[in-house]
């Protein structure tokens, strides 16, 4: 993927910034030091200075950073917002925040109060911090080339519309790297809105009460090697084009309205080498176009995929559908997508010529799941004897079923793909 080149750019750029700024002053902050508070130290710091903050608890209200400084915690100093303040507010380029424990930000219905907020900045680095019990944890607005790395973010665990914001919230950004973070207990684990040319990599987002990852209007991004589990609803990727989703694991997003991955109005994207395990729906596709879903494993989901007929010209191929209650459901008797060459564990066909492809097509859409997609109320009939009878009729007389979605080349063996 050529698009990944930008990451090299960002890296070299930030290294450059590092080298030029590194030579200047270092200010120590601690209870016995000359500077007892970070605010005092910031007063005197020049551009490019390093503030070494030693362990201890600092209650300084909102610490506003308007200079290009490095804030480095030694021995995990605690910055406490006392439930009233935004803890760290950064409005400068080239700022580093590392090694802090940031706790108890304020809460508000009108403002997005965060543990660390970065606004209108470039080249920020936020890494190796622990954030606990903040309203919003890390909040980046209107930034470029920032990195959020290896932070541990534990939200307030309160369910309710006003009492938890997002873990890592990024709005209006380019060239961001979100890597190896652990996020739990927030509304959305990671939230991207209008974020472009960015990478989300190696994160674990679990137990957030809405989405593990929420992604809107964010084009040309990549997310890979992440684990999203047990989030309220799952992962939502919406109104976006040219996204690459690779090597992620979506699991145990199980509940009435849950799904592993919602693809809403996604164009020209790629979903590859992911594992969807025990989600109510592995993937829910609505209004998607020219997107390829290949070489993914769908294991023991309620529905492996729900593909609505307003999704067109997508390709679903070489996936493994293993022991899902329903493999595929759709809300129209025709489905204008290419579904071909997948392995379906419930396929009962044969392969007489031995070319690895089943000789009769597989129909992954059951009549009942089709009716249910259009009239959710019939879901009370799940496992009903009447429905089993319907399935039996469908298996023996496929011609009576109006749903014409089929995989004409079902594979006889599981697809072996590697990351």
């Amino acid at each position: 993927m050529e698009r990944e080149n930008w990451k090299g750019w960002a890296l070299s750029l930030s290294l450059l910034v590092w080298c030029t700024a590194g030579v200047s002053q270092t200010i120590e902050v601690c209870s016995e030091c000359e500077y007892k508070t970070i605010k005092e130290a910031l007063e005197v710091a020049g551009g490019g200075a390093s503030l070494l903050v030693h362990s201890g608890t600092y209650r300084e209200g909102t610490i506003l950073v308007t200079k290009s400084v490095k804030l480095i915690g030694k021995g995990k100093p605690v910055l406490d917002g006392e439930g009233k303040y935004e803890v760290l507010k950064i409005r400068a380029n080239n700022v580093l925040v590392e090694g802090f424990e940031i706790i108890n930000s304020g809460r508000s219905e009108l403002e997005d109060i965060a543990g660390i907020k970065v606004e209108d900045s470039e080249n920020c680095v936020i890494r190796n911090n622990t954030l606990k019990n903040n309203f919003w944890a890390i909040y980046l607005a209107n930034v470029r080339n920032c990195r959020v790395e290896n932070n541990r973010i534990l939200g307030p665990f309160k369910v309710g519309e006003a009492y938890s914001g997002n873990g890592i919230h990024i709005w209006q950004a380019k060239g961001v790297l979100v890597k190896d973070n652990y996020i739990t207990g927030h509304r959305d684990g990671i939230y991207f809105e209008f974020v472009q040319d960015s990478v989300i990599e190696g994160n674990v987002s679990e137990g957030n009460w809405r989405y593990g990852l929420h992604f809107m209007f964010s084009h040309r991004d990549i997310y890979r090697n992440n684990l999203f589990r047990k989030n309220g609803v799952g992962v939502a990727v919406m109104y976006t084009k040219e996204v690459v989703m690779r090597n992620n694991r979506f699991e145990l997003n199980w509940g009435g309205t849950s799904y592993g991955l919602l693809l809403k109005a996604i164009n020209d994207s790629l979903v590859e080498h992911n594992v969807f395990y025990k989600n109510t729906a592995g993937i829910l596709m609505d209004e998607c176009q020219r997107t390829t879903i290949r070489e993914n494993d769908f294991v023991e989901n309620g529905w492996a995929m729900r593909v609505w007929a307003n999704s067109m010209d997508n390709t679903i191929t070489r996936n493994n559908f293993l022991s899902n209650t329903f493999d595929l459901s759709t809300n129209s008797s025709k489905n204008p997508n290419r579904i071909e060459g997948n392995y379906w564990s419930s396929y009962r066909g044969y392969d007489l010529n031995g070319d690895g492809v089943g000789d009769i097509p597989y129909r992954p859409v059951k009549l009942f799941s089709y009716i249910m997609e259009n009239n959710p109320a019939v879901s009370v009939l799940i496992k009903s004897f009447f429905v089993e009878l319907l399935n039996l009729i469908e298996d023996t007389l496929p011609a009576v079923v109006p749903v014409s979605v089929e995989d004409r080349k079902p594979l006889m063996e599981k697809v072996e793909w590697r990351r």
Partner: protein, 258 residues
Amino acid sequence: MPEFLKLLRADLRNLKGIKWLWAYLLSLAGMSFLILYLSNDTGKVILSLLNITLLMVPLVSSFFCITYFYDSKSFMEFLLSQPVSRAQVFWSKLASLWLFMSFLYAGGVLIPLIKEVLNPTLWVLLISGVLLSMVFISLAVLVGTVFDDRVKGVSFLLGLWLYLTVLHDGVILAVVYLFKDYPLEGVVLALALVNPVDLARIAVVINMDVAALMGLSEALFREVLGSLWGLSLAFAFMVLWFALPAFLASLLFKRKAL
């Protein structure tokens, strides 16, 4: 009511001697063993057992009981020539059937699954199956009380059984299809609540993973089916389903010419 207990004991003793009732227990147990042999996943085993329960229990309970009820009419006559009340004779007959059929069902399901005895879903299945047995016994006795003609009674019961186990769900499907522009959650829920077979199924299903497939966007389902409330509601309606026909039958029996 010591007379009631004496009569109950006699009835149970007689039921105990009916060989093909034991075959019912054995076939339930056999199928449970077979399912257990084919799959290790307890969830799947319970779902398969649910299907068997929904098919076998209403069929066996209702048809055995109506036959038994007709067969024992002349013995009830004899008993009623003794100094016992009609209520005692009626309720002891019904209670003996309730007890014995429930025992057979529970035994048939529990013996092979004895290792899973602490699994709450198994208990939901057991209770549902037992309640379903009781419902169809009550219905059979009611039909047997209403119709003196055996052929009429059995054919009416056959129709009822067919309707409740199969056709009713078709009606729900048709209703949803016909009225799709209306908010149907309430209606569908009400329609499901009036059928004991649906109640038994829903009681088990809402305790299993597949329940998530029921929720979808329906707030009402989420509220009603997604909680202990739903289970209690289902069980409460099943209790009504066996208590009301039984009560109605007892009223009819009281004035009936034997």
